[in-house]
């Protein structure tokens, strides 16, 4: 530990440049950046798996890959994207970096636990890499029993270890955020003065903390059952495979909200800033975040409509799933209403955020189709489902992630990025994404099943379109690496608040000092204090 230098206070980056200072840091900002590096690495592993699949699907015949290899690819893609990219994506990076700044704290409540979470994440990632090197796993990311416990000849236990371990990193993060928001707010910053980003992290943390342990224990039982051949999931052993599915989806449906709630927080900040208006219906935005988090816990059975669960359970789960649409649409309406009569400008973060709204709406509305029991019988396990959840998880959540990268880039790095390149990337990403996934809605609706490496020739055109879209999307993902890398070295210096945004994080320098604020901030008003009347001051 170095001693604290006298004024002028160095930024959190300039405190020390050694690798050791990064790997032993307790600074929430540095830990956020450690996460950025890790999840970017895993994002590209999983993206490569997807790219190989899209190449295979260019032709109807299974001519590039064996069926087994294809199974392993979609498993790796799912496992890594879900647990090693999407779940930690916004909370562990921007949540870590921004949450204490936004509430005027020096750090999170438990900085050592925060660092531990990154090491736990890395250990889990190590198991995934071991799984990959050893030859992969072919169960799908859902690890359904009894296939997983009885039949699969791949490295199931190693993969389960990875997922089990990484779960604790999100529990640590969630626990830290809950306590931080409850106990570390600056004087005057009461609950309804919190930025929606903070509310979103809070709601997400509740889900992380209450859902992840269920997955951990369930997967532990699967591993025990596979190793010892005694257990409660395999019917041949007297167990109940539906029990596994209930437990798995009790985590994995709320997990979708772990991915999308933080994205909603990002979008609320960005829209308010670039429309120069306070978020419309702030309290409803808060209640709808919490509503999604709570109701999200009661809809898992919609993944099991055709699994043989009771018809009445299906009806209840269907109804509850429709219910989630209410808070979700409140959010979309309120973002739209925020834009109304605002002085809107279209910087890159805003383009990404608007892209989020469009794609989230598409994903959400098709979700309504899938929540309808009868329609779901037709659409289950088709590409319609694949397209639906990619619109939410890749379309919406990843667009918001990129929106956050661009919006807070000047704060994190102290530098500006080239705006026109960023706008171009945002537009290319939106086009590429729609080209990649919209045809999958049609293919799925026409009956193309998911998880096959070969398919009947009538779906060929749609699949070629989809693969072309994936190529465009790949360009859009690589572009930011290039121009943001350039900005890191050569970008012009950003002031403390290049967007003229409100919020405590913009009141400190860019990049912020180790302890965030030179003087502890005080808050005496609601968030988003933008000029409401066009052109007039408050």
């Amino acid at each position: 530990m170095s001693t604290i230098a006298a004024a002028p206070e160095p930024s959190y980056i300039d405190v020390s440049y050694t690798l050791r200072s990064w790997l032993t840091t307790h600074d929430h900002k540095r830990i956020g950046l450690l996460y950025v590096v890790s999840i970017t690495f895993f994002f590209f592993i999983a993206a490569v798996a997807a790219a190989i699949m899209r190449v295979e699907l260019l032709t109807p015949a299974g001519d590039l890959l064996e069926a087994d290899t294809y199974n392993k690819l979609f498993t790796v893609h799912g496992v890594v994207m879900v647990w090693f990219f999407l779940i930690p994506s916004i909370p562990a990076t921007f949540g870590n970096f921004l949450l204490p700044l936004m509430i005027g704290a020096r750090d999170v409540a438990f900085p050592r636990l925060n660092l531990a979470s990154w090491y736990v994440y890395s250990l889990g990632g190590l198991f995934v890499i071991i799984t990959l090197i050893a030859g992969g796993v072919d169960t799908g990311w859902t690890f359904y029993t009894p296939y997983t416990t009885m039949f699969s000849n791949t490295h199931v236990v190693a993969a389960i270890c990875g997922v089990f371990i990484v779960g604790f990193s999100s529990i640590f993060t969630g626990l830290n955020f809950i306590v931080t928001v409850h106990r570390m707010r600056a004087p005057g910053l009461n609950w309804f003065r919190l930025p929606l980003f903070v509310w979103a992290q809070y709601a997400t943390s509740l889900v992380m903390v209450l859902a992840t342990p269920v997955l951990a224990m369930t997967l532990a039982l699967v591993a025990i059952e596979r190793i010892l051949q005694v257990g409660i999931f395999d019917p041949a052993l007297g167990g109940d495979p539906l029990l596994f599915q209930h437990l798995f989806w009790f985590y994995s449906h709320p997990a979708v909200y772990i991915m999308v709630l933080p994205a909603m927080g990002v979008v609320s900040e960005v829209i308010a800033c670039f429309a120069r208006r306070p978020v419309f219906g702030y309290r409803f935005m808060v209640y709808s975040l919490l509503g999604i988090a709570v109701v999200g816990f009661t809809v898992w059975g919609h993944h099991m409509f055709v699994s043989g669960q009771s018809m009445y359970a299906g009806m209840v789960f269907s109804l509850l799933s429709f219910l989630v649409a209410v808070p979700s649409s409140i959010k979309v309406f309120n973002w739209t209403a925020t834009l109304y009569r605002g002085s809107v400008s279209f910087e890159a973060p805003m383009l990404y955020a608007l892209g989020f709204i469009a794609l989230f709406m598409m994903g959400g509305i098709t979700g309504i189709w899938l929540a309808a029991l009868a329609a779901d019988v037709h659409l289950t396990d088709t590409y319609f489902v694949v397209a639906h959840f990619h619109y939410i998880m890749v379309g919406a959540a990843v667009m918001a992630y990129f929106s956050a990268i661009h919006f807070w880039w000047p704060k994190i790095t102290g530098r500006l990025y080239p705006e026109s390149w960023a706008r171009l990337a945002a537009i290319v990403m939106f086009i590429g994404f729609n080209l990649a996934f919209f045809p999958q809605y049609i293919a799925g609706f026409l009956g193309m099943p998911r998880r096959y490496h070969a398919y009947p020739p009538e779906y060929e055109v749609l699949n070629i379109l989809s693969s072309a879209g994936a190529a465009v999307l790949a360009v859009a993902y690589v572009l930011p690496l290039i121009y943001l890398g350039w900005s890191l070295l050569r970008g012009p210096r950003a002031g403390s608040s290049p967007w003229g945004a409100t919020g405590l994080e913009w009141e400190t320098t860019s990049p912020p000092p180790r302890d965030n604020f030179r003087r502890p901030p005080r808050v005496d008003g609601p968030p988003y204090a933008y000029d409401t009347e066009r052109g007039h001051g408050p």
Partner: protein, 215 residues
Amino acid sequence: MAPDAVVPDAPQFEDGEQRRSAATLGMWVFLATEVLFFGVLFGGYAVIRLLNYDAFVVGSHHTDVVLGTVNTAVLLTSSLTMALAVRGAGLGQRRDTTRWLVLTLLLGLAFLGIKGVEYYQEYQDALVPVLAFRYQGPHAQGVLLFFYLYFVMTGLHALHLIIGVAVVGAMVVRNRRGHFGPEYYIPVELTGLYWHFVDVVWIFLYPLFYLVARV
């Protein structure tokens, strides 16, 4: 009165009160995750018991209800001594605190010892799935699942208790070194919360494995 406590550095907090309330809230959130963690097993138990009720009656009659009951009493008593230890720490009575902590630790070890005796008996009776299971009576598969759940759930509980014993041991050492005083005894308080949680889990395990259809 104890001398000044040795308070570890925590620059993220404004004052001791904020620190204490953050630490206890953190512990409660952690215990909430533990409830969900054990909740999977209790849920699994419920489903398997519904499917195999008769087998669970048989299985429950093969666990040692006398030792199980004694163990329940031992663990409940340890929660009392733990609570007294926390109170002593809050009042700065270092010697009393050490005494209560040591007693808690010994009761925890006693529980684990008795549990070990039970496990050994069950091993000799060939009721341990995978390792030694030769129960041939009616509902053999259901009885196997009963004992599978018995060992997984009481085993996980015992693991938590072993961790608890280790932490209480660390508290004894730190307390004797004078690390705690009325203004700083957060670690003792958190240890207490954890200890009570482990106790509460046992209160649910006891009827589920020892008292099914016993009059």
